[in-house]
Amino acid sequence: MSWFWGAILFWLAAWALNLRLAARAGGRGAARLAVPALFGITLLVLWEGTVRGFAVPGVILPAPSAIWGTLTGSLPILWGDFVQTILKGALSGYVIGCAAAVLTAVAIDRSAFLQRGLLPVGNFVAALPVVGIAPILVMWFGFDWQSKAAVVVVMVFFPVLVNTVAGLAATDRLSRDQMATWGASYGQALFKLRLPAAMPFIFNGLKIATTLALIGAIVAEFFGSPTRGMGFRISTAVGQLALDLVWAEIAVAALAGSAFYGLVAAVERAVTFWHPSQRGR
């Protein structure tokens, strides 16, 4: 029990420190990093303390230290799964799906009729449990990563399409008239004015799509996969009650998801440096 009470004490101490930090710094500079970091560490300590203090069996909840041990001990397996699921399945599907969506949006840009028709349908589909299409696509494209990429393509297509169409409509009348007075062709206006102006919207869609891509690739593996991949490992390790391996996979998925999102956000910052939401940082 001493483990548990120690963790509670640590929690109280960290909370007091956080209160002081937040009150003093008011959320500027180092406090902005230190406070959430301390909170995260507190959660881990509470977790570890609870598991050890109450001797929770590892088949219900492994301690963070045990998960870390598995993580460092089975790096080759985790790396193989990462390559299979994230690099082959999710990433290729993400690139194909997002490119197809942006190209479709540009293609239907000239037809107000198609836009009025496709936008409600796209919004509708974006709210559906699209991931349910996974068993069908696994049946069509086989068990390997191609079927996972296909699921990801379907999942990311509509959010990106809807956002891109909204973005292409985001320029104001004044700027478009300006283009017209310069005698700009449709293509010039598109590339010099409307596509750059659509970038914040497109990146919004791309950021939503990063999480969807990982979910699609992992969940599709529940319906059949070769003997590697994160979804395969999670479902088989759960069956063997090897929960430390499952948590290690989840940690990898969380890291990969955050890194993927961070990467897209970094590209966004570079591309849309002029937008108000990016200025003054």
Binding site: W15, N18, L19, A22, A23, G27, A31, R32, V35, P36, L38, F39, G40, V59, I60, L61, F113, L114, Q115, R116, G117, L118, L119, P120, V121, F124, A127, L128, P129, V131, G132, I133, P135, I136, V138, M139, W140, T210, T211, L214, I215, I218, V219, F222, F223, M230, I234, S235, V238, G239, L243, V246, E249, A253, A254, G257, S258, F260, Y261, G262
Partner: protein
């Protein structure tokens, strides 16, 4: 209503493409069958056959419609082959989780708005958690909570996942909403000597309603997906997710598509209900559009 004709055109085009796709994808099997018995099939024969195979690669729309009709109307509601029964299993878990997640999310958002330390420590994690593929945990949660020694009923285990997926959109949206009153409105309440509780109930919560409903629409769609994925692990026999998995094991493509459309109807219906409540509530509060 201006959008009705274009939307119908697009839907008609999708259905036409679908018919074309099912002819194209199913014709292989027809040709194989014909070659096996050594007969030539005409083009019309191929097309006719692709429309009514037992286990087509891509069922034609009318086959899916028939599967859906049989599943919904053709069975007693209590039958295990009834889509209404499976849909109800999924819906009940979704709703339970959605209610828990919404309540917890609003409570945490209120805490975050009133405590600077909580804001600084919890908010970054709440936002970061959105980038994590949470659904991957679903099978583990089901096995751990549903198996010994906890032995929770599947309804609760599934609701936990739905609640988790509901929680974060609600937190993020409500924090934004509770902060939406501007300084002038807050100053006015201060001149009235209003307490923090009064400010919360009379200004912040009403102001947060549009944000809350926007988050709820995202959250309910996510929690339907969460419940369905939670029903995938082997052993689950009830619910639309289990129906999908069984269909994929036995190659029953019509069953998969029917379950998929049932799930889509369920999600779309829930979003539509929230949109309706939103319209009524906001109109009643004088914020209607």
């Amino acid at each position: 209503m201006r959008a009705l004709v274009p939307v119908l055109t697009v839907v008609a085009a999708i259905v036409a493409l679908w018919y074309g796709g099912s002819v194209w994808l199913n014709s292989q099997w027809t040709h194989d069958q014909a070659a096996r018995v050594g007969v030539e099939v005409s083009l019309t024969g191929v097309v006719a056959d692709t429309m009514m195979q037992e286990r087509p690669v891509l069922p034609a729309p009318h086959q899916v419609a028939k599967g859906l009709w049989d599943g919904v109307m053709g069975q007693r509601i209590t039958s295990k082959r009834s889509l209404v029964w499976h849909g109800w299993i999924t819906l009940s878990a979704t709703m339970l989780g959605f209610a828990i997640g919404t309540a917890a999310g609003i409570a945490l958002a209120v805490g975050i708005v009133h405590s600077r330390a909580m804001d600084l420590s919890v908010m970054p994690w709440a936002i970061a958690s959105q980038t994590v593929p949470i659904l991957a945990i679903a099978p583990m949660v089901i096995v751990v909570l549903g198996g010994p020694p906890m032995n929770l009923p599947p309804l609760i285990a599934k609701a936990v996942i739905a609640a988790y997926l509901t929680f974060f959109p609600v937190v993020v949206g409500m924090v934004k909403g509770l902060r939406s009153p501007d300084a002038m409105q807050l100053d006015l309440l201060r001149t009235y000597n209003a307490s923090a509780l009064d400010t919360l109930i009379k200004l912040r919560l009403p102001a947060a309603m549009p944000y809350l409903f926007a988050s709820l629409k995202v959250a309910v769609a996510a929690s339907v997906v969460g419940t369905i994925v939670a029903e995938l692990p082997s052993g689950a026999v009830a619910g639309l997710g289990a129906r999908l998995l069984q269909g994929s094991y036995y190659g029953q493509t019509v069953q998969i598509w029917a379950a998929l459309f049932m799930a889509a109807t369920l999600a779309a219906g829930l979003v539509a209900i929230i949109a309706l409540v939103e319209r009524l509530a906001l109109a009643r509060m004088g914020m209607g559009r």
